[in-house]
Amino acid sequence: MKRLIALGSAILLFAIVAAWWTNSRQPKPIVLIPTLTGKPEYCLTCHSGLREISPSHPIKTFGCVICHGGEALALDKNLAHSTLRGGANPSDLSVVQENCGGSNCHSGTAADNNDHIQRVMKSVQSTYAGAIANILYTFGVEPDLTARFGIHAVTDDVITTTTGVPALQVFDPTKQTNPSVLKFAANCLNCHINAQPLPGSQFDRLTGCAACHTPLPNLGEGQGVRGQIHELTTAIPYTQCNTCHNRGNYDLRTMSFIQRTDQPTTRLQDYYQPIAQFTKCEYTLDCIDCHTRAEAMGDGDIHSSMKDIQYIQCQTCHGTPTQLPQTKTLTNPNDIAFRLAQLNPVVDLKLGDTILVTSKGEPLWNTRVLPDGTYQLVGKATGQVFTFRPVIGSGCTQNGLDQSSAYCHTCHSVQR
């Protein structure tokens, strides 16, 4: 019996050592107490290698949970991730209000320029209202091109433009009978930021805010990097815009998307589709160097077409043969231009600088009027410095009222 007890003791000792061993193999918890919540989070135990998402969201201030959800105290992967809001992408529009919203964050007011979420929810980028309205009108379902349906239902109580519509209902394909509309619903509802992208690395993007603000490196098929990208930026390169734009055309006869078939290797070839006409600045600059936040994210109104919101023209920067472009001297330290420049510090904007502004007064904060009357633009994504002149003083004879790109492209277009 004593031998048995000795053996039993040895077995118990073995069990204790085994328990000690498994316990020592557990990850050593790494705690973070973000100042905004004051509550401990242990996400960094596993995610210590992740880069800080952006200078505007310092991890010591925000931590992880305030944006992502999740179980802050759990060190088991499945449990820790069980309450994530939006999985790996908290900016998906289905959860964006909870994750990125709040009056101090991205669902503030238009007055303080923090109404990003409200604007994006009404924008054609998320409603796809323009394409839906076009198709419904083309196939005789609706009497005109006014948008009535969107990917999600949305209402607008304060309409500030002439093209704004008060509300959209959900576009419900089951209520449609026209075969072409049904085909459209089946084949073409991919080009909005609620939708998962089409297969293929050229389409690879996330949804929601991250569709634009989290550029994915184009590493080709099956590289499995999406979950590892932890970045939000306002320096969005044209390649990110091109995960949706310039990728091909919709064929109205077959109601299907025909992908571009060229395999571009240079920026000149890659930027636009082969059929497109464009000038030098249109492919050397990035899209966001000209197109403003209101154009990209919406101006707070629900519009029936992309055209209603796209208003940047060649004259915005270059003026016309009779008029200089509009400018503004920065005298207010709270000017939105400073905030935008701080978010993407490619320029050192100072009080007293004179910058170009759009016809709606939006600051083109990456431009500057130089003392000699020429202009400078710094690429938001590249940091490249460009200088350019106004039309006045050139040999241009274009009528100042005919400023759509087609007119300018008559003379100014690039051959590739």
């Binding site: 007890i5 085994a18 179980e71 105290l73 759990a74 088991d76």
Partner: protein, 344 residues
């Protein structure tokens, strides 16, 4: 060596034949050991557990992942609780299959049965204290079952949950029952049960004139066997705890929105399976109570085992009790297996 206090808890000598493993299965002693382990680990958990709906599941995450060896302590508490139900059931089966419940041990049989019920209730209340999505279904369905009891169901529900739906009062009540009410009851019943084992003449054996094997072992030998059993049970608990963690799930976000698995804890799977057959009161309350009543009545309605047959397995004289218990046990096992299968 002078006998210690631990030795004094035992009779000076006991019959050798009836103190063999293959006779007692060591189940009663193991149950006592497991209760002690549960008490010790439970006290440690008390320092970190927070009994509020919004904090409970997170405090268990704290115990499981952040407190040094907290996960091990919680896992031991969990596995000891599961093992307690199994050894209690084995003990019950052994007592019936050896006819040991015969007078004068009838009352102690009832005490033991009551202890078993307390162990099940302790297990269920402890399970609910997790207050995560893993227990949500069982909590809601289990407490709703109370409402189906005629006349007093709604009152009982309010007494149990402290409201019209599970919430903070429910958690506090389950907590109070778990760490105080049921534990105190189990300690009293347990001490009484052990006292009655001695008072009723120790382990059941034939009266001296009929006893064939008169060999006895000393309490030191008995104590050694108990120590061996404790060492092995302790090692098993620690190994289980080290390699198979106790269940944990995400916190309940809304008690009215069912999430997680629609599964009862394993010891109630047989009841869950019967609930599929129809009326919740009949299958969820009435039939389990009938089963309990039959178990309680075994010493009173079945023929008393012959004195000469005491102290050995399967005495001929109480076959009917053995068959009834075997049928009940088999049905519960089969229903539990069916209940554990994934819903089709």
């Amino acid at each position: 060596m002078r006998p210690s206090f631990f030795h004094h808890l035992h009779p000076p000598t006991i019959p050798a034949k009836q103190s063999r493993w293959r006779y007692t299965l060591g189940a009663g002693g193991m149950a006592v050991f497991l209760l002690l382990v549960l008490g010790a680990t439970g006290i440690l958990e008390l320092f970190y557990y927070i009994p509020t709906p919004d904090q409970a599941a997170r405090s268990i995450q704290t115990i499981s992942y952040l407190v040094p060896f907290g996960g091990l302590v919680r896992n031991i508490h969990f596995w000891a609780a599961q093992l307690l139900l199994i050894v209690s059931a084995v003990h019950l089966v052994r007592v019936v299959f050896t006819g040991s419940y015969a007078p004068p041990r009838r009352f102690n049989y009832l005490l033991g049965l009551a202890l078993f019920i307390f162990a099940i209730l302790l297990d269920f209340t402890g399970y609910v204290l997790r207050w995560d999505q893993g227990i949500q279904w069982a909590l809601v369905v289990g407490t709703n079952l109370i409402k189906t009891i005629p006349l007093i169901g709604n009152l009982l529900y309010i007494v149990l949950t402290g409201g019209t739906q599970p919430g903070l009062p429910t958690l506090i009540r389950f907590y109070a029952w778990h760490i105080f009410g049921l534990t105190l009851g189990a300690v009293i019943l347990g001490v009484w049960h052990i006292f009655r084992v001695r008072r009723d003449g120790g382990i059941a054996v034939p009266p001296p004139p009929l006893r064939v094997d008169k060999e006895r072992i000393t309490r030191k030998e008995l104590a050694r066997r108990e120590v061996l059993a404790m060492l092995m049970t302790g090692a098993a608990l620690i190994l289980f705890a080290a390699f198979i963690p106790a269940p944990i799930a995400q916190p309940i976000s809304d008690i009215n929105v069912m999430a997680g698995d629609a599964k009862a804890p394993w010891f109630f799977l047989w009841v869950q399976q019967m609930l599929k057959w129809g009326d919740p009161f009949t299958w969820g309350v009435f039939v389990p109570l009938i089963v309990l009543a039959v178990l309680a009545l075994i010493p009173y309605i079945f023929p008393k085992p012959a004195d000469s047959e005491l102290g050995k397995w399967f005495p001929r004289s109480n076959r009917s009790a053995q068959i009834i218990l075997a049928v009940i046990a088999l049905l519960i096992i089969v229903l539990t297996i069916f209940g554990s299968l994934p819903a089709s």
